[in-house]
Assembly symmetry: C2
Homo-oligomer: 211 residues x 2
DNA sequence: CGAAAATCGTTAAAAATTTATCGATTTCGG
DNA sequence: CCGAAATCGATAAATTTTTAACGATTTTCG
């Protein structure tokens, strides 16, 4: 309905999508924002607003949204129907995990190659030596780079990516990256999530499970 | 200084910590909120406030904070000096990656065991059959559970964990989990991060790198 | 010593996000 | 057909988070 969306709301959309797909697979045809909110333990108005932003047709009073349409609209909004190419640098455990994560295809992300210092093969996919990156990125017009190297090498890998024309970097290394203003970095920070979890757990234990 | 902290701020703390450790290793003794903010591209007041909440001694005008003290205070605040035990269920690629991620120890997290349907060995660590979990969790008083199984099995693993006395769940499966009110769930949602990245990239390309 | 520069911590304003309220619309059951 | 129940979409209030403004303190240097 409305094109703009907040960053927070954007992060909720994949949740809705997963949920709706599950419901849809269970045979649900129509679904209301109220139901989604209850099941996902979110505020009803928030869900309604989020869905209104992405839905083209809108919902109908009393019946709600048509699940299949809503799924389609969410996928479209999230760009899942518009595959983007990406490369990974760093084929350690994490890099390998991402490389063999089959689901990325459904998220519109196609990992076309992985690089590391020494070439090898993971899950049937070749790992290329790092110096092949520039050529490959420019030839295939890859704009997304995923960094999975140890923190001390992250910045140099980042610099290399920028030289190769990468515009968006998904950084799994726990360091801040310095990039030109036209390059965006999305930090994937396990420590940050862990911090939130631990903090909450601490309260939980301290309060003796009050609630 | 002040005990309360916002969730957002809490997520920034590990960033500061990584940054400060790097600087400290480079020989920096004193550091100001201004410098941190500039290097990390954050708002100066925000950084100052964040640091003020965790720092016991506070900073001094003109010189800033003593790096080593600030690091200590951050680690203490984040509970990194107070190790918590955790178990992983699901020893696929992601589970293995987490299991062999050496840095968790520095984050106050000690993964004491991993479980999966069939027992095996990863990185010198034994993977136990899932039915051993209840016994082990209760004996070792483990309160954190990490879910790395495919989405369709996440809820049942979650239920099992709750039965075992787990109080906090770090969920890497892209599904919402239903838990009793005294159990907390932290979702680690790769798709959500990817959505933010893609969305930003789209604007970037559309705007022709205006900025 | 004393003025200038840098930084701190606090208070206040602005912006973003979440939550509440309400009238309008659609379906269902009698 | 008509009233009750459910849901939508929109507007408004409340909350949270970020950013700005400012006086106070400490160091540096002429």
């Amino acid at each position: 309905m409305n094109g703009t969306i907040s960053k927070q709301a954007l992060r909720r959309l994949p949740f809705y999508l997963d949920y709706l797909k599950k419901k849809s697979a269970e045979g649900v045809r129509n679904i209301s924002a109220t139901t989604v909110a209850n099941d996902l333990k979110l505020n009803e108005v928030q869900v309604r607003k989020d869905l209104a932003t992405v839905s083209l047709t809108g919902g109908k009073p009393k019946t709600g949204y048509v699940a299949s349409e809503l799924i389609r609209d969410l996928e479209s909004f999230l760009g899942y129907d518009n595959t983007k190419e990406a490369v990974i640098v760093g084929a350690g455990k994490l890099g390998q995990a991402l490389l063999s994560y089959k689901e990325f295809g459904r998220y519109g992300l196609n990992i076309v190659a992985a690089f590391d210092t020494d070439a090898s093969i993971v899950d049937g996919k070749r790992i290329f030596p790092a110096d092949k990156m520039p050529d490959l990125c420019s030839r295939l017009k890859v704009h997304i780079g995923i960094i999975c190297v140890p923190p001390e090498h992250a910045q140099e890998v980042c610099d290399r990516m920028v030289e190769c024309g990468i515009l968006a970097i998904w950084n799994f290394a726990p360091v801040h990256l310095v990039v030109p203003p036209d390059v965006i970095v999305q930090y994937e920070n396990l420590a940050a999530s862990l911090a939130v979890l631990s903090q909450n757990l601490e309260f939980e234990i301290k309060d003796g499970n009050k609630f």
